[in-house]
């Protein structure tokens, strides 16, 4: 690289990193300082975390629970579907994939509105957490399907299955013995993506939630609007603590899945 080109590249990389990192550090600090506007001089405290925990612990648990439920549902729906799509990579499969990927292209607000329009009157459903769950599954399902599908597409599934069949295994055995174990890296990467995205989902949840069912990001939006900066920051800090380890693991898992599909 000419030195100039390299300098531009390094500068852009460092600037972008700073742009993404600095506010998160600010936020972490803000959540831990007694008074953000007086700065660190005012001392460090866990008081704000405690306040947030008291106010919003339930939303944290709700988000965790929702994300696990979402994972379960996307596994049940997504893994068999990804298997079919990987086995029959034709036009219909593409159309199907295109269709279930619509929630990535249609704004969450619109989807939520659509769900409310159709199911808003089913009261028990509408006020239960499963209603939010549906939104989360809609949004995360394509990630599970693609993640599993790309790993399956890379492992010559057809031949493996033919080998199993030639050894006497019927379709169900093949699925259990060959397909699922070999899709595991994709399933793992997909699972982490699903959990992470579900915990962070706001656009759909904002419209779907009821006051009893505030998820973590909805609580965050509340706190940004009406809580003091330190509390909002402390809340953000709790969000980071939950999401960052997941993200790190997710990146590790997708890198692994990607290595397999190369």
């Amino acid at each position: 690289m000419t030195s100039l080109g390299k300098i531009v590249q390094i500068s852009v990389t460092l600037l972008a990193s700073a742009f993404l990192l600095v506010p998160t550090i600010q936020s972490v600090l803000a959540g831990l300082t007694v008074n953000y506007f007086q700065g660190l001089r005012s001392g460090l405290t866990l008081e704000w975390i405690a306040v947030v925990w008291e106010l919003y612990a339930s939303s944290t648990f709700l988000s965790l629970g929702l994300s696990l439920a979402c994972l379960a549902v996307t596994l049940v729906i997504g893994v068999p579907a990804a298997y079919v799509l990987a086995r029959n990579p034709g036009r219909i499969a593409r159309a199907m994939e295109e269709f279930i990927s619509l929630p990535l292209a249609i704004p969450g607000l619109a989807l939520a509105l659509a769900l409310l329009q159709l199911y808003g009157t089913f009261k028990e459903f509408r006020i239960s957490w499963t209603f939010i769950l549906v939104g989360h599954v809609l949004y995360t399902l394509p990630f599970m399907v693609r993640s599993v599908q790309s790993v399956l597409a890379a492992i010559d599934l057809k031949t493996l299955e033919e080998a199993a069949a030639s050894l006497g295994a019927g379709p169900v055995r093949r699925f259990v013995d060959v397909v699922v174990p070999n899709a595991l890296p994709g399933i793992l990467a997909g699972a982490l993506t699903v959990v992470t995205l579900s915990i962070g989902e706001f656009n759909l949840t904002w419209m779907l939630h009821t006051p009893f069912l505030k998820t973590l990001p909805v609580g965050l939006a509340d706190s940004y609007a009406s809580m003091r900066l330190e509390i909002a920051s402390a809340y953000t800090l709790i969000f980071f603590v939950m999401i960052v380890p997941l993200l790190v693991t997710m990146q590790w898992a997708s890198a692994r899945a990607q290595r397999i599909s190369q």
Binding site: G5, K6, V8, I10, V12, T13, L14, A16, S17, F19, L20, V22, T24, Q26, S27, Y36, I77, P80, A81, V84, N88, M96, I100, L102, L104, A105, I106, P107, G108, L109, A110, L111, L113, A114, L115, Q117, L118, V137, L138, L141, F143, P171, V172, L197, G200, E201, F202, N203, P217, L220, A221, Y224, A225, L229, T236, F239, L246, L247, Q251, Q262
Partner: protein, 267 residues
């Protein structure tokens, strides 16, 4: 059970779910858009109302700008990170991809911390550096959540380029700049289109960031929200949603057909 039957069975959960919770609600949404006072004329009304059309244009404009900027930043950084090994590379990579799952509201908050009245910039240069609530703030917020997803797609694509292509160009006398121009960028084109499409779609639908920034700049998702909360104009909100969804999907679809590749999932 025959293989055929088993495969069909495997599709049942997906089919049931996406029919019940995607296809039918979308149909209902479209129908709802025609149930207002204006009937199906609501779409004409949108096209004739400058506020809506201006917002649509503005939303597309901001999204396009963000897409271009995110592509430029992420491709530059991605090329550097993919082609160089140095200490701290993993850390930079993590920093640049971690915000992947930050909800829009958090991103808005990050921008306020940077460019708000109490933000970092205004603390360093008091009185001059408040940009969180301007178009610039919104732009930066969108850029914030676009960089990671574009970067991931672009880097995955760079890793797949055969390094011997670059070496071949160099043995033929190409300077590093020419290598980039003649070999890398053309190779990356499909990935750039795909990543751009993702960034564009996300920006088009972004709500949380605008919501948190509380700017006076209208983007379509905010308008939809306002329609919904302004005397519950559900038909208009639905119609605008349909338009936004359709516009975004169309652009994504075109990008996907153009790039020939599945638009990679950014997260």
């Amino acid at each position: 059970m025959s293989s055929r039957q088993f495969l069909a069975l495997c599709l049942v959960p997906l089919t049931v779910f996406s029919l019940a919770f995607l296809a039918l609600p979308l149909v209902r949404l479209v129908l709802a858009s025609g149930e207002g006072n204006a009937g199906w004329g609501v779409y004409l009304q949108i096209l004739q109302t400058p506020r809506y059309t201006a917002t649509l244009v503005q939303t597309v404009l901001v999204s396009t700008l963000v897409t271009v900027a995110a592509l430029a930043v992420s491709t530059t950084a991605g090329l550097y990170l993919a082609r160089n090994r140095f200490r701290g590379r993993a850390v930079l990579l993590s920093i640049l991809t971690l915000p992947l799952a930050f909800p829009g509201v958090v991103v808005g908050f990050m921008i306020i911390l940077l460019g708000g009245r109490q933000g970092l910039f205004n603390q360093i240069l008091p009185g001059h550096m408040i940009f969180a609530y301007s178009t610039l703030g919104l732009f930066l917020g969108y850029l914030y959540f676009s960089i990671p997803r574009v970067l991931l797609t672009v880097m995955a694509a760079i890793e797949k380029i055969d390094p011997s292509l670059e070496e071949a160009a160099r043995t033929l006398g190409a300077s590093p700049y020419r290598v980039m121009r003649d070999v890398l960028i053309p190779q990356l084109a499909p990935a750039l289109v795909a990543a751009g499409a993702i960034a564009f779609a996300t920006a088009m639908g972004a709500f949380g960031t605008a919501f948190t920034l509380a700017t006076n700049i209208d983007v379509l998702p905010m308008v939809i929200y306002t329609e919904f909360t302004l005397s519950a104009n559900i038909a208009m909100a639905a119609a605008l949603s349909v338009m936004l969804g359709f516009a975004t999907w169309t652009i994504l679809f075109l990008a996907r057909s153009f790039s020939g590749a599945g638009v990679a999932a950014g997260g």
